[in-house]
């Protein structure tokens, strides 16, 4: 197995365009890290409970819950994956309690609708709270009631189109607030996010729009000084035909007689529909594969390490996640 590509990364941020499967990739990465004996916290911030569904556990509260263990590898003891569903309201109250000891004022804030205002309407506050909590979970020498120390934190982050703004929100904040606790907190969050202890991975599928968005996302992250990790190509089509056969399938020159003879050998009862059907499917597949290959080339020119996961015909359930985790490990992402 290759050495992990991001050995110093403690915080893995996983983003991607909607529908590319970023939650699945984040979960697989967490499992892969756990299979190397690490204790991992897998966080989600979009309120979708995607982690609970993937791991087939009860909806996650705003509390770190044990959700899975990594695969046993050799004599090393596998680590555990914990899940955390970060809600901005709870994060704000926790934050207030932790830093300000507001007491009565905290309750008054809630009564006056300030909490709702802050978490739904005030520009950027929501993202500040979410990133703040991720930072808190990932930082060294974490203190407080039942706080576990994790070897790695994996964040199922907002989609590619919003990721630079999401992670960069603290630098805006640090610019706005000239001093005080907000300023220093914002500064330390940004210094973690900008360091090599963070790796931001982008998930894509091999289609034009997501690949374009990935390229744009990488450019945006770089411009914001945020560390780009790898690109994970997800949902890749099976590669059951070699180049020459693909070409023949595309051009419609596969040998019909030979295929018919093969099907007979395999003991199938043949009719015209079956052979025609298989050849048509092969043609469709070959056309799509050609488009995929073109996009794969574009991805390979992005100048970042790339990883590839297959589409699982049965969907990604818990068993599928372990399969994908093993593939990520083999390819050296974890």
């Amino acid at each position: 197995m290759p050495a992990p590509a991001f050995p110093r990364a403690k915080l893995h941020v996983v983003t991607g365009k909607g529908g590319t499967g970023k939650t699945t990739v984040a979960a697989s990465l967490a499992l892969a890290l756990a299979s190397q004996g690490k204790d991992v916290l897998l966080c989600e911030v979009e309120g979708r409970q995607g982690i609970a569904r993937l791991f087939d556990v009860e909806p996650l509260p705003y509390e770190e819950r044990r959700i899975a263990v990594g695969l046993e590898a050799g004599d090393e003891h596998p680590g555990t994956v914990y899940g955390l569903h970060i809600e901005p309201e709870a994060a704000l109250l926790e934050y207030l309690a932790m830093y300000y000891r507001l007491g009565r004022a905290g309750r008054a804030l809630d009564r006056f609708g300030v909490i709702e205002f802050a978490t739904t309407l005030a520009p950027g506050v929501r993202d500040v709270l979410l990133t703040g909590k991720v930072f808190e979970a990932a930082k060294k020498g974490r203190r407080g009631r039942d706080s576990r120390l994790y070897d790695a934190v994996v964040l199922d982050a907002p989609p590619t189109g919003r990721i630079a703004r999401f992670l960069g929100v603290n630098s805006e904040l640090a610019g706005l607030a000239k001093m005080g606790p907000i300023k220093s907190q914002a500064d330390s969050v940004m210094s973690l996010f900008r360091s090599e202890r963070t790796a931001i991975h982008l998930v894509t599928v091999l289609e034009e729009m997501p690949v374009q968005e990935t390229a744009d996302g990488i450019a945006e992250l770089r411009e914001a000084g945020l560390p780009v990790g790898g690109v994970v190509v997800n949902l890749a089509r099976p590669r059951d035909l070699d180049e020459a056969d693909l070409k023949a399938a595309r051009e419609g020159t596969l040998d019909r007689a030979a295929v018919t003879a093969d099907l007979e050998t395999a003991g199938l009862s043949i009719d015209d529909g079956l052979v025609t059907g298989l050849l048509t499917e092969a043609h469709d597949h070959a056309v799509r594969r050609a488009l995929e290959d073109h996009q794969r080339e574009i991805v390979s020119e992005l100048g970042v390490p790339t990883y590839e996961l297959p589409r699982l015909a049965a969907g990604a359930d818990l068993g599928g996640l372990y399969e994908l985790a093993a593939l990520l490990e083999q390819q050296g992402l974890a």
Partner: protein, 407 residues
Amino acid sequence: MTKAGTKSTKASSRDRGRARVGPLAAARSPAAVLDVDALLDDPGTGIIVCCGSGGVGKTTTAAALALRAAERGRQVVVLTIDPARRLAQSMGIDQLDNTPRPVSGVGGGTRKKSGSLAAMMLDMKRTFDEVVESQASPEKARQILTNPFYIALSSSFAGTQEYMAMEKLGQLHADAQREGTYDLIVVDTPPSRSALDFLDAPERLSRFLDGRFVRLLLAPTKGPARLMSAGVGLVTGAVTKLIGAQVLRDMQTFVAAFDTLFGGFRQRAQKTFELLQADKTAFLVVAAPEPDALREAAYFVERLNEDRMPLAGLIVNRASPAPEGALSADEAMAASVRLAQERPESVTAGLLRLHADRARLVERETGLRARFAAAHPSVPTAVVPALAGDVHDLAGLRQVGALLADG
């Protein structure tokens, strides 16, 4: 799902395993098929809203519906939120200018009436600015537009995009009514965290503008300080501590300047909500044949019903095309393994594996759709098979439109 196998002509001993892969069987029964053309042709359809979770092809669907309607004789405008660059270019709206632009190359000579298509891309900040300008005196408008808090709110507040999409819809509708420019408006909705945000955003914003917190911000600028209760003092103190005095002052100025506009905003939000509930509006929920997207779609369908929004149907995008023939996935896999042993060089084993893969995908998607249909039997559904490539020109949109109409 029981009527599959019509194409099966082979030995009956294998039929048991085949019942499941009838093409589109689940979409035809129990759920009704969505008749897209009837919807587009109905002069009573004045607004079509395409909604659904991110990445399911809402924008493409909206554009394809708009083009098809135009080519069937309607005067259409389509409001897109964040179209792919090349698609936007092909419609001539690659620049954000917040005004509908005519799309050239729209055909449609077959009908008596000739249709037209205009398209625009939403500029949320500009839309917000325009609302402020139309509601406030020039001097007050300037005050608001230069306020740092307003600038942040109008360009990044979670929900502004949703709110402004609905605002723009209201504007387009009012203009169209007044000037008779369009008889059909097709709206794409923003890729929000939750597909419902655009329904909630106006309500949330007006609740905020109406809320105690705002009145509290206003209090110091309005009344004598001694009227402030202890609670108010506590809160402003806490807020100041959190965000700093400068930000609080910005907010206060903003809220004070905005005060007179609140009524107008609330009224507009209310009107848009009523417009969405009107009979001439049709909601189309767009989903991909994936558990998450369909779950979101189900939630949306329920929510629309609750809010008495007129739901026209569900569009399942990017469905895997049903495999031809009746060979099941298991049979294909077994045959592939046998063949790979006997003729390792042969391409046919690969073909069989591809077939098995596709049959499994289709089976899974059919199951997911059937589950949705079982829970929501009254929702007419159209299934759109996946295209090989991305759509980035009118020809592609036309093709999607035809597939939509095929249901």
